[in-house]
Amino acid sequence: MNTAGRRGARSIAAWPRPVRPRLPAWLGYRIQRLLAPNACYRWLAGWLERSPARYRAFAAAEQAAKGELFGCRMCGQCTLPVTGYACPMTCPKQLRNGPCGGVGSDGSCEVYPDIRCVWLEAWERAERHGRVADLHLLQRPVDHRRWGESAWVSYWHGRDDGLWAAGDASAIRDSVPAAERR
């Protein structure tokens, strides 16, 4: 069973697998403050978008950095700031609203029992930094047209303000339809 499992794991290596973040959460939260949108960043985002080549290069650099640190897969709708800087898109089920019910009692992933559940990482990191309330936010469905986009550029432009919502009365559709954002 175990051997077969490991064989299977290699054969679907392209599917998401939980990644333990390499960046400490406190550093993530600090960098988030440095990257907060301002006039400078908005100008930079606009400048990058005016040239497809510049934008591609910037997105590639973002992918390299976030890939190394978080296993980023470039969904383009970054939720790291509210998931303890652990990436939920590395969950084999790509769950954005918390762990599934299959987490082992030892904290192992249901799909890859030799890897730790990424949501357990998210929970522990958020809890350590008093950010548990982040995990209570309702994450809206991913817009699959946006894979490959630079989440930093989108963030500076304020396009990601509707990725998640708080409270019961929230509509599942963001007030700005995703199609009209770009």
Binding site: N97, G101, V103, S105, D168
Partner: protein
């Protein structure tokens, strides 16, 4: 044989604060409608609704909606389970609409097991939405009469929306809050993973009450018999997210081999009685794959016999 009077629906049972009982019915691997009918008829009069699973454990079975229609025809209200495993948001919403149009009064929305451990591990996993988003989508369809796209539904569907939760999986501190997210998204009832560890379930229920969730979402505790030592080992090794304390095995080993299955039913009945005493628990959801016909006996031992049924069913 006289058909018992149609019982109140799951919705009215939950609203009237009477103990609700649901049971799981796994559709067959095959094209025989009788298999569903037989299982459902054994439960008629004993339960408020039967869950029709959605290719449970990622093993191909007759579909959830077809099973639901067969259950309706057999005189028991279905709870149609729907997972995010095999369908994108277009198919999910389409199936939800179809269920409503066909008279399925309850849906149970969940993420679903990963195909990797099913009978088609080579399948493409979909997981376009997660369970919270699917519940949110369903509530939007029903209460706002709109699809995820924003397009209107005329008329909107009207099912009771259910969700699932595993009180025993880590992180323990987040499991009640996770139900809270599903309630915020629109879940009106929840069925839990198998409860074998009543103290751990009691702790989770304390969290649920502290968040005030039991007032907004009816909790049905998942229960079921472990009918042999082999089944115990299988469930421990192969069912994701299941927690079975050693006490269960000790009791099963403590009786002669011929009495293990009987002891399992007694233990299940005891757990039913224990969980129903916990404040905030509205009922039980009985899961006994392949042993659906034995569920009435378990319910009888737990004292959950309904008026007007009984004698013909107990073995």
């Amino acid at each position: 044989m006289t058909v018992p009077p149609s019982p109140p629906s799951l919705r009215s049972r939950l609203e009237s604060a009477q103990t609700a009982v649901t049971a799981e019915v796994g559709p067959p691997r095959g094209a025989d409608p009788e298999a569903v009918r037989r299982k459902v008829e054994a439960l008629r009069g004993w339960v408020d609704a039967v869950n029709i699973t959605d290719s449970q454990s990622a093993h191909v079975r007759l579909s959830n909606w077809a099973g639901s229609i067969l259950a309706l025809a057999a005189g028991v209200e279905p709870v149609m389970q729907l997972t995010c495993r095999d369908r994108n948001r277009i198919a999910l919403q389409s199936d939800l609409l179809s269920a409503a149009a066909l008279g399925v009064p309850n849906v149970l929305l969940m993420t679903g097991d990963h195909p990797r451990f099913g009978d088609h591990p080579d399948a493409k996993p979909v997981f376009d939405l997660d369970s919270v988003q699917l519940v949110w989508t369903a509530r939007t369809m029903r209460d706002e009469g709109r699809l995820l796209s924003g397009r209107t539904l005329d008329p909107p569907p009207h099912w009771l929306i259910g969700a699932v939760e595993n009180p025993f999986a880590p992180p323990a501190g987040f499991r009640a809050a996770r139900l809270g997210k599903k309630v915020a998204a629109g879940a009106e009832f929840v069925q839990t993973q198998f409860v074998f560890d009543v103290p751990a379930f009691t702790r989770w229920m304390t969290g649920v009450r502290e968040l005030g969730l039991d007032a907004r979402c009816k909790v049905l505790a998942g229960v079921g018999p472990v009918r042999s030592l082999r089944a115990l080992e299988y469930m421990r090794g192969n069912v994701p997210g299941l927690w079975i304390p050693d006490e269960i095995g000790r009791r099963l080993r403590g009786v002669p081999p011929g009495r293990v299955a009987d002891e399992a039913m007694t233990m299940c009945a005891e757990i039913i009685q224990q969980v129903l005493r916990i404040p905030g628990v509205s009922g039980v959801h009985v899961m006994a794959p392949g042993f659906e016909h034995g569920i009435p006996e378990i319910l009888a031992r737990a004292g959950l016999t309904r008026a007007g049924v009984g004698s013909g069913h107990a073995h």
